[in-house]
Point group: C2
Chain length 193, copies 2
Amino acid sequence: MSETAARPLRADAERSVRAILEAAERVLSKDPGASMEQIAAAAGVARTTIHRRFAHRQALIDALASSAARQLVEAVEDGRPDTAPPLVALHRITANVLEVKGAWAFALELPADPGSEAAALHEDIGRRCITVLERARADKLIDEAADLHWVRRVYYALLGESLRGSPDDTGIDTDTLAARVIDTLLHGAGPRT
Amino acid sequence: MSETAARPLRADAERSVRAILEAAERVLSKDPGASMEQIAAAAGVARTTIHRRFAHRQALIDALASSAARQLVEAVEDGRPDTAPPLVALHRITANVLEVKGAWAFALELPADPGSEAAALHEDIGRRCITVLERARADKLIDEAADLHWVRRVYYALLGESLRGSPDDTGIDTDTLAARVIDTLLHGAGPRT
DNA sequence: ATTAACTGCATCGGATCTGTTGCAGTTATG
DNA sequence: CATAACTGCAACAGATCCGATGCAGTTAAT
């Protein structure tokens, strides 16, 4: 309820904003301290244009975080965390999130300060995540005594590690990666019985 | 064979260097873009003193990475990865590493460029890590078909997540954290049989 | 105790980045 | 087509940071 306001931009300008956000992600993920000039160049835009849409540098960062967080919410929603069978939901959500997080890694690892839109969205995602895990536990997929908050942290860590892309898994499709994440989450590295 | 050379510093100066490195870790972990002035202040030292020991800012960063990497090697060695029973070694190494990595998080997550001392040390650690995992697999602790490189990545991720310190586990001793990491690594979140 | 190392302070030049403004030219939109 | 929105370019002031240097005072070492 804070920045989706400002009456519609011209189709023209809207493209610029998207180009800027995408360029920011690309550039900042390689060098978090990159200058506005570098971002502008990557976006194919003059530096002043960025300042017209985003007052401060921080405003750009915030918008980037919000935009990415919204996409992540969508990725989770699409997996029907409340209705689909837990294992199905887990797989679908994982694959979706891997895709989004792969494209917006920098923006999503940004420390969202409390009160921001991004922070609220991430909290929402966190809750939905716990929901899925609870449903999975009810289906005996997860140990009854397990601490779901720890399980969630492990899940997040596995997601992060998955798209860290080692030389090995270049060009592996998202579904395969998702399957590995979930298998590891549920069974670890120990011998299968 | 590159920088441990320079004849011995005065006991005096050696303390300064240590103070600077510790301050750098502290300050940079909170703000990777912090100025030399901030680091100097945190070290209780004048900014020029830093420049006397470390020519460029990058030189300080490199020294920080090397110092931390050396401590990490020590932490691994201490766990007797080649001789102790795999499970014992794993636990001990994990506990040690958690301690070191907790104190030098920034320095250890630094992208070590190829050729640097830190890079060589990390490669060495990586090899030793694989060794322990192989020995664990020989003891049937790990599935025979498991990809040890993936297992190692998961292990690293779990270590990283462990010392991310959620509000829950403040003041939990290192051994408990280590136990949780290893348990999760070997069994995941699934039900125990 | 003498020497050499070390440090703090003040100051310098140079470089880089941010955020702003004015103007002229282009492009969408009704 | 006429207006208003949008953009690039150029130039600006202000701030910040880096790396270096000279000097005077303190501290460790032999």
